[in-house]
C-alpha cells in the first residue's frame, strides 16, 4: 500500500518552501507515495504548491493575535475552530501515514484536529514537525507536545523541546533552487561567459536597506564594464507597508542615470526560478534568513550578507556570523541613517560597492569563499528528514542522527536593550571580561538598532549605551536627539530620550563647540531630568578632560540652574560648577544661595563642588574652610547599617575565600 503524506504549513514562503523540499525528497525515493497539501487561501501556498505539482486543499486559519485584545482573540478562536472542523473530513478522507507540518499559523487547525482525532482513536497518523527558526514559533512550541518527532534547523533549539523528540536535521532547501548549471543559466539569461554577476535581493517582499544600497552603489559597481547587476526588489503584497519596486524607482529618480545601466542592470520584483539566477551569479547580496543562507551555501556562492536588525534573539546576525566565521560570507551591518527625517536603518551604497567590487576583483578570494560556503552546507539534511519520516511511517529503521556541534556564542547577540545596558555597565565597572573586536562591532551595531527603534524607551537606552560603549561615531545622533527642534520650533525628541542623549554625551567624553552648544540647550530644557542630565554631563566632561576648555562657556547658564525649581538640576549644576568653574570665588558666591537649600542632597552637592574647587587649585583651602561652616548640615537622610548582615557577609566572604583555595 502506498504511503500517504499530508503536508501543511505556510502563510509565508518561508514555511512553504521547506515543506515542498521535504515532499520533493520523499517523492524522489518513493514515486508511488501520495501527497496532499493543506493551506490557507490567498497565502503563499496558493501559488507555490500547485506550481510544484502537489494537490492543495484549503482550511481557514488566522495568526494568533495575542491575549491583549479579547475580541481579536475570540475571533481567532472561532476561525481556528472552523478550520479544525474543515480539517477533520480532510484528515479522515485522506488518512495520511504521516502529517508533516512546517509551522506558521496555517498548520494550526490541521495539527489540532489531528491531535483530537488521534486522542479519540479515529486517526493513526504520525506527526512530524519541522522548525526553521532558532527559537520555536508559538504554534510549533505547542505542536511539539503532541508531535512524534520534531526536526530542528539549529542545534540550540533542541534544549527548548520536551524529552527526546527533538532531532537536529538542518534546514531543507529545494533542489530546484540549487544545483543549476552556470553556463546553461547564463545562456538562458543572455549573460556573457566573462561577465561578473552580482545578484542582490531582499527576500520575497524586498528589503529597503538592500534596495537603497544597491541603487546607491550602482555607479561604482558598473564602473567595471564586466559587472552586471541583477536586482530583486521584492513583491508588494496588499496591505504591506513596504513597496520595494516603488521605493527603488523613487531612489533612482534622485540619481543621475548611470552609464551602462540600460544594458548591465536589470530588476524584477520576484523570481519564480531563483535557482537559475543563483547558478548564473558570482556574488550574492542578501538578507541573513536561515532559508536564504542555506540556499546560497548549497549553491556554493560567496555572499555579502546584510542581516536585518532588531529581530528576536538577533537570529539573522547569528546566522550571518556563522558564515563569517567560516569565511563563506562578508557581513555588512545596518547602521542608522540620519539624513532622513527620522532615524532609519540603512547600509551605505559606498560600503556595499567597495565590498562587492573588492570581492569581484579578487578572484582567488571569491573561490575561497565559495568553497567555504559549500563546506557550511549540510547536504545530508533532506536525507535525515526523509529517514525520520520513513521511520515514522513504519518503513525504515531508526535513523542515526549526528550530534551537532554548537555554534560559538557572542555575548552580545540576542540581548535586549536592558540586558545590553547592564552588560556595558558591568564592563565599565571591570566586572566582565573585555569585549573582543568582533563583539565590539556587534555592540555598535546593536546600539544602532536601538537608536532607530520606534519605541522611545529603546532609543533612550541606545543613547545611554553610546556613552557607555564609547561609540564616538554616533555623537551627531546624540546631539540631534538632545536638542534638535522641529520646523514648528518644538523639541523633536521625547523628554526621556533627550535626557538620555545628554547622559550619553557625558559618557562619551568628547568636547567640542557643538557639544557645548547642545549642553547649553539642554540646560534650559523644559524637562527637569534633562536639565539635570545636561549639568551632570558637563561635570563628567569637565572631570574627564581635566580642564574646562570650551566648557567654561557653560559657567553662566550653569549658575542660572542653581535657582532651578527641581532639586536635581540644582545639585547637578553645583557639582558641574565645581568641575568647570574657573574662578573659585565666583563659584562660591553663586553657590551661597544653596547653603540652606531644603533638600540636603543639594547641600551635599555644594560640599562636593567646593572640594573639587580646592582640589583643582582654584579656591584656597582657608576660604573653603570659611565657607563650609556656613552650610546647614542638618540632614533628613541617613544610611541604615545592619551589623548582623555585615557579620553574615563577612562569613560569606571567608567561606568563598576558603572555597577558592
Amino acid at each position: 500500500m502506498a504511503l500517504r503524506y499530508l503536508l501543511t504549513g505556510g502563510g509565508t514562503g518561508g514555511h512553504v518552501t521547506p515543506a515542498l523540499a521535504i515532499a520533493d525528497e520523499l517523492k524522489a525515493h518513493d514515486p508511488a507515495a501520495e501527497f496532499l497539501y493543506v493551506g490557507v487561501r490567498g497565502k503563499a501556498e496558493e501559488i507555490l504548491v500547485p506550481r510544484a505539482g502537489y494537490r492543495l486543499k484549503f482550511v481557514r486559519s488566522r495568526g494568533y493575535p495575542g491575549a491583549s485584545n479579547p475580541l481579536a482573540l475570540l475571533w481567532f478562536l472561532i476561525v481556528l475552530g472552523l478550520g479544525m472542523l474543515r480539517a477533520v473530513p480532510i484528515l479522515l478522507g485522506f488518512r495520511p501515514s504521516v502529517i508533516i507540518a512546517t509551522g506558521g499559523y496555517v498548520a494550526a487547525p490541521v495539527l489540532f484536529a489531528a491531535a483530537v482525532l488521534r486522542r479519540l482513536g479515529l486517526l493513526k497518523s504520525k506527526i512530524f514537525l519541522h522548525e526553521q527558526n532558532v527559537t520555536p514559533g508559538r504554534l510549533n512550541a505547542l505542536g511539539a507536545s503532541f508531535a512524534d518527532r520534531v526536526g530542528v534547523s539549529f542545534p540550540e533549539t533542541l534544549a527548548s523541546l520536551p524529552g527526546d523528540k527533538g532531532a537536529y536535521v538542518g534546514y531543507p532547501v529545494r533542489s530546484a533552487a540549487t544545483g543549476g548549471e552556470r553556463a546553461e543559466a547564463r545562456a538562458e539569461l543572455g549573460i556573457p561567459e566573462d561577465a561578473r554577476v552580482v545578484f542582490a535581493f531582499g527576500g520575497s517582499q524586498g528589503a529597503r536597506t538592500i534596495n537603497r544600497a544597491v541603487v546607491d552603489a550602482l555607479p561604482r559597481l558598473l564602473e567595471d564594464p564586466r559587472v552586471r547587476v541583477i536586482h530583486g526588489t521584492g513583491r508588494h503584497l496588499e496591505g504591506a507597508a513596504y513597496d520595494g519596486a516603488a521605493d527603488v524607482t523613487a531612489r533612482f529618480a534622485e540619481h543621475e542615470p548611470v552609464s551602462g545601466q540600460e544594458e548591465r542592470y536589470s530588476r524584477q520584483d520576484f523570481f519564480h526560478d531563483i535557482g537559475r539566477y543563483y547558478a548564473a551569479a558570482d556574488l550574492v547580496v542578501c538578507r541573513a534568513g536561515a532559508g536564504t543562507l542555506t540556499e546560497v551555501c548549497a549553491q556554493g556562492l560567496p555572499a555579502v550578507v546584510i542581516p536585518k536588525a532588531n529581530l528576536p534573539g538577533d537570529h539573522q546576525v547569528a546566522n550571518a556570523r556563522v558564515l563569517e566565521r567560516h569565511g563563506a560570507a562578508r557581513v555588512l551591518y545596518e547602521g542608522v541613517d540620519l539624513s532622513a527625517e527620522g532615524a532609519v536603518e540603512s547600509v551605505s551604497g559606498e560600503a556595499l560597492a567597495e565590498m562587492a567590487s573588492g570581492l569581484l576583483g579578487a578572484g582567488e578570494e571569491l573561490t575561497r569563499m565559495a568553497e567555504a560556503a559549500r563546506q557550511v552546507y549540510d547536504p545530508e539534511t533532506l536525507v535525515r528528514i526523509r529517514r525520520l519520516i520513513e521511520h515514522l511511517a513504519g518503513k525504515g529503521p531508526v535513523p542515526e542522527l549526528p550530534s551537532p556541534e554548537r555554534r560559538p556564542v557572542d555575548r552580545v547577540l540576542g540581548l535586549s536593550s536592558n540586558a545590553l545596558d547592564q552588560l556595558l555597565r558591568r564592563l565599565a565597572a571591570g566586572s566582565e571580561k573585555p569585549l573582543g573586536a568582533g563583539e565590539q562591532r556587534l555592540v555598535n551595531y546593536k546600539i544602532d538598532g536601538f537608536l532607530a527603534a520606534a519605541d522611545y524607551v529603546e532609543r533612550a537606552r541606545g543613547c545611554r549605551m553610546v556613552g557607555l560603549a564609547g561609540y564616538a561615531e554616533r555623537l551627531p545622533v546624540l546631539i540631534r536627539f538632545a536638542a534638535a527642534r522641529r520646523a514648528d520650533g518644538k523639541l523633536g525628541e521625547t523628554p526621556i530620550v533627550r535626557r538620555d542623549a545628554l547622559v550619553g554625551l557625558g559618557g562619551l567624553g568628547c568636547v567640542s563647540e557643538t557639544v557645548v552648544e547642545t549642553l547649553q540647550a539642554g540646560l534650559s530644557d523644559p524637562y527637569f531630568e534633562a536639565r539635570a542630565a545636561a549639568a551632570e554631563a558637563a561635570a563628567a566632561l569637565g572631570r574627564s578632560t581635566g580642564e574646562p576648555g570650551p566648557l567654561a562657556a557653560l559657567c553662566e547658564p550653569m549658575t542660572t540652574r542653581l535657582a532651578d525649581r527641581s532639586f536635581e538640576p540644582r545639585a547637578a549644576a553645583a557639582r558641574a560648577l565645581g568641575e568647570i568653574g574657573g574662578d573659585g570665588e565666583v563659584v562660591v558666591a553663586a553657590l551661597r544661595r544653596l547653603y540652606f537649600d531644603r533638600v540636603w542632597k543639594v547641600r551635599s552637592a555644594v560640599f562636593d563642588a567646593i572640594s573639587r574647587l580646592v582640589e583643582r587649585g582654584v579656591l584656597p583651602p582657608n576660604r573653603a574652610e570659611e565657607e563650609m561652616g556656613r552650610v546647614l548640615i542638618t540632614s533628613t537622610g541617613y544610611i541604615t547599617e545592619y551589623p548582623l548582615k555585615e557579620a553574615y557577609n563577612h562569613l560569606r566572604h571567608v567561606v568563598n575565600g576558603k572555597e577558592g583555595e
Binding site: A67, Y456, T494, P495, I496, V497, Y527, E529, S566, F567, E568, V599, W600, K601, S604, S635, T636, G637, Y638, I639, T640, Y642, K645
Partner: protein, 365 residues
C-alpha cells in the same frame, strides 16, 4: 463565638456583657493584638525557614539590598489574628460580617497566590499578571455590587441600597440604581490596589490602614445605633454595628503587625496582607455607604495610587516624561533624600489628621 455564648448565658439569666458592641470591640482589639504577639514570632520564623523571603530588588532610591531576605507573606499573620479575633467577637450570623469574611478570604487568597508565585520564581515582578489580578478583583466587586443593590439580597435597608451618600451632606446625593454596581466594582478595585501601592516602606501601609479602620469602626457603630443616627441625621442601618467589631479586630491585628513591621521590619505583609486589608476596608466602606469618606480617610492610599496612575499613563505613556520624580509618591520623598523612617512617620501624621477630619464629618454636615 462569645456573642453566641453570651446569648446562651443571658437565656440562663446571666449578665449580658458580651452583647454590648463597645465591650466586644475592645475585646476584639485586645485579643487580635495578643494573637499576633503569640503567633508572630513562630510564624515569621516558619515563613523564613520555608523560604518565603523577599528578593533583592532596586526600588529607586530605597536600598533593598539590606532588606533582602526579610520574610514575606506576613499578611498571613494579619489574617489569622484579624479573622480569628473577629470570629471570636462578631455575630457570625450577621450578613455584614459574612460579607466581610468573604472579602477577606477572597483577597487574601489572591494575594497569597501572587506572593507564592513571586517567591517560587524568585522575582518580585513575576507574580500574578495584572489582568489576572484585575479579573479577580472585578469578579468580587461585581458579586458584592449585585448582592448589595438587589432588593432581595441586600443586607441594607432596601430604599438605601442604591443611594450614593457623601460626607458633609445630610441627604443622599442621588439614587444611582444599577449603576451603583459599577461604582462598587471601581471602589473595590481601587481600595485593593491603593493599599498594595502604599505597601512600599516599613509601616507605611499598616498604620494608615489602622486609622482608616478606626474611622470605619466609628461609623459602623454610629450607623448601627438607632439613637445616634437619629441625633446625627444618618440613615439607620440595622446590624452595621457588627462592622465596628470586625474593624476593631482588624485594627488590633494591625497594631500587632506593626509590632514586627516597624522599621527595621522583621516581616513584610506582602500582597497577602495588602490585598486582604484593601479588600476588607473597601467592602466595609461599601457596606456602610461611606465610599467617599473612605477615600478621604485613606488619603494616603489615594495619593499613592493617583501618583502611580498619573506617572504611568499620563507621564511615561503619553508625555514620555516623568511627572513626579518617582512613583508611587513615597519614592519621590526617598529620592529627595528623606530617610525611610522620616517619610513613614510623616505619612502617619497626615493619615491621623485625615482620620480625625473624617470623624468630624459625623457632625459637620
Amino acid at each position: 463565638m462569645f456573642y453566641w455564648l453570651s446569648e446562651v448565658i443571658q437565656d440562663a439569666g446571666g449578665p449580658a456583657l458580651f452583647k454590648y458592641l463597645t465591650a466586644r470591640s475592645v475585646f476584639a482589639v485586645i485579643s487580635a493584638f495578643l494573637i499576633t504577639l503569640l503567633v508572630g514570632r513562630p510564624l515569621i520564623n516558619a515563613l523564613y525557614r520555608r523560604g518565603y523571603r523577599s528578593a533583592e530588588r532596586s526600588y529607586g532610591d530605597i536600598n533593598t539590598a539590606s532588606k533582602a531576605g526579610t520574610p514575606v507573606m506576613g499578611g498571613v499573620l494579619l489574617l489569622i489574628a484579624g479573622l480569628g479575633s473577629a470570629a471570636l467577637w462578631c455575630d457570625l450570623r450577621n450578613a455584614f460580617v459574612l460579607a466581610l469574611f468573604a472579602a477577606s478570604l477572597w483577597f487574601a487568597a489572591m494575594g497569597a497566590l501572587d506572593d507564592l508565585l513571586k517567591v517560587r520564581l524568585k522575582d518580585s515582578d513575576k507574580g500574578l499578571s495584572r489582568p489576572a489580578k484585575y479579573f479577580g478583583q472585578i469578579l468580587f466587586g461585581l458579586a458584592l455590587g449585585l448582592i448589595v443593590v438587589h432588593e432581595h439580597t441586600t443586607p441594607l435597608p432596601a430604599e438605601l441600597a442604591s443611594e450614593l451618600h457623601v460626607p458633609f451632606y445630610k441627604h443622599a446625593l442621588l439614587d444611582l440604581g444599577w449603576i451603583y454596581v459599577a461604582l462598587i466594582v471601581v471602589m473595590i478595585v481601587y481600595s485593593a490596589n491603593a493599599v498594595n501601592f502604599a505597601d512600599g516602606m516599613d509601616g507605611l501601609a499598616i498604620v494608615p490602614s489602622f486609622f482608616v479602620l478606626v474611622v470605619l469602626g466609628v461609623f459602623g457603630y454610629v450607623l448601627g445605633n438607632v439613637k445616634l443616627t437619629e441625633y446625627l441625621f444618618y440613615p439607620y442601618i440595622p446590624g452595621a454595628g457588627e462592622v465596628a467589631v470586625f474593624c476593631s479586630a482588624l485594627g488590633g491585628a494591625a497594631l500587632g503587625f506593626l509590632w514586627f513591621n516597624a522599621h527595621p521590619a522583621e516581616v513584610f505583609m506582602g500582597d497577602t496582607g495588602s490585598l486582604f486589608l484593601g479588600g476588607a476596608m473597601g467592602t466595609s466602606a461599601v457596606l456602610l455607604k461611606q465610599e467617599v469618606l473612605f477615600i478621604i480617610a485613606g488619603g494616603i492610599f489615594a495619593a499613592e495610587i493617583l501618583s502611580t496612575a498619573i506617572q504611568e499613563w499620563l507621564g511615561l505613556g503619553l508625555l514620555r516624561r516623568r511627572i513626579f520624580a518617582r512613583a508611587p509618591i513615597h519614592h519621590t520623598f526617598a529620592h529627595r533624600g528623606l530617610a525611610e523612617t522620616k517619610v513613614v512617620v510623616r505619612f502617619w501624621i497626615v493619615s491621623a489628621i485625615l482620620a480625625a477630619l473624617s470623624i468630624a464629618t459625623l457632625k459637620i454636615r
